[in-house]
């Protein structure tokens, strides 16, 4: 049961990381000189999204 819950928690995080990666690559391709700042923002966004999946992971371990 906990594993199923973790799988459900990961869906949202996976979609959001995918979307942020898509945005980052698109903007980098359009404007390569802004690469550094886009990468920093992408890592930040991915970290926020990933935190939700990791909270799910910890809860799956506890439950």
């Amino acid at each position: 049961m906990a594993v199923i819950g973790y799988g459900l928690a990961v869906i949202g995080a996976a979609i959001s990381i995918g979307i942020s990666c898509f945005g980052a690559t698109t903007s980098m391709a359009r404007q390569p000189e802004i690469q550094g700042r886009v990468f920093t923002t992408f890592i930040l966004g991915a970290a926020f999204a990933e935190a939700l999946a990791l909270i799910g992971f910890v809860l799956a371990l506890i439950a």
């Binding site: 920093t40 930040l44 970290a47 935190a51 909270i55």
Partner: protein
């Protein structure tokens, strides 16, 4: 005989080993294996820092000094100046300490048998508590106690202000939890995955050695290759998590010390 029979037992043993084991001291406040490895990481950090300082020169020579200077410069330019901007110099020592402490702890965790400090929630929560106190202190210092509390929510939203203020207050305390949980869960999950892969490689080989035939040991090679791939990934994760932790600390500091929202 199925070689996967011993897996459940092995995983239970692995999880027990990754918990905090008491080495000495009273039950409520004891020294665990994580404490020992954290102290080792701190000693490595001190040795690296002093060795680099001792060799400091106008023109850095050698791989060691150039490597350390490159990382310091990267934290300064990419994280400190890039995020905080003006007046970032006084936060640089703090961010460098956080970054080096976490990165050395994470990299120590890749040594087989090592239990790095960042693999337990206690250490990561302590580090995130220090960051939390630090950025709140600078927020109070920069904007005054009343100003900082008032500036949690943006101005000019009219009657929504109390609601937004409450949400912002909750998110302020959530930062404390998410910082700690993100680092801990990343390292812990990596350790479990590598441990399970190593166990699977071992189980198939054991079955072959006990006379189940040579062919049954073949999956061991695959698991062994997967461990190597996971090691490469964990090396990346170790550095990226230290980077993310430091970057988020810098973002929180810059939010707290910004003049207005």
């Amino acid at each position: 005989m199925n070689p996967l029979d011993g897996l459940q037992e092995g995983i239970a043993e692995l999880l027990e080993e990754l918990g905090s084991l008491k080495l000495s001291g009273p039950d409520s406040f004891f020294i665990s294996q994580y404490t020992v490895w954290m102290v080792i990481a701190a000693i490595v950090l001190v040795i690296v820092a002093f060795a680099a300082k001792k060799r400091e020169a106008l023109v850095p020579k050698g791989r060691f000094l150039n490597g350390v200077e490159y990382v310091v410069q990267w934290v300064r330019d990419d994280i400190c100046r890039g995020v905080i901007g003006k007046g970032s110099e006084k936060h640089l020592p703090f961010l460098l300490t956080v970054f080096f402490f976490i990165v050395i702890n994470n990299l120590l965790g890749l040594v087989p048998g090592a239990k790095p400090g960042t693999g337990t929630i206690s250490v990561t929560f302590a580090v995130s508590l220090i960051v939390f106190i630090y950025f709140n202190f600078y927020g109070f210092k920069h904007q005054g106690i009343g100003g900082y509390i008032k500036n949690l929510a943006p101005k000019g939203i009219g009657p929504l202000y109390p609601l937004v203020w409450c949400i912002e207050l909750i998110s302020l305390f959530l930062r404390l939890i998410t910082l700690a949980v993100r680092l801990f869960a990343n390292m812990y999950a990596g350790h479990i995955v590598m441990g399970v892969f190593a166990m699977l490689a071992n189980l198939f080989l054991q079955a072959a050695l006990q006379g189940a035939g040579f062919a049954i040991a073949l999956p061991s090679i695959g698991w062994e290759l997967l461990i190597i791939a996971m090691y490469a990934l964990e090396l990346l994760v170790a550095v990226i998590q230290a980077y993310v932790f430091t970057l988020l600390s810098a973002v929180y500091i810059s939010l707290a010390t910004a003049d207005s929202h």
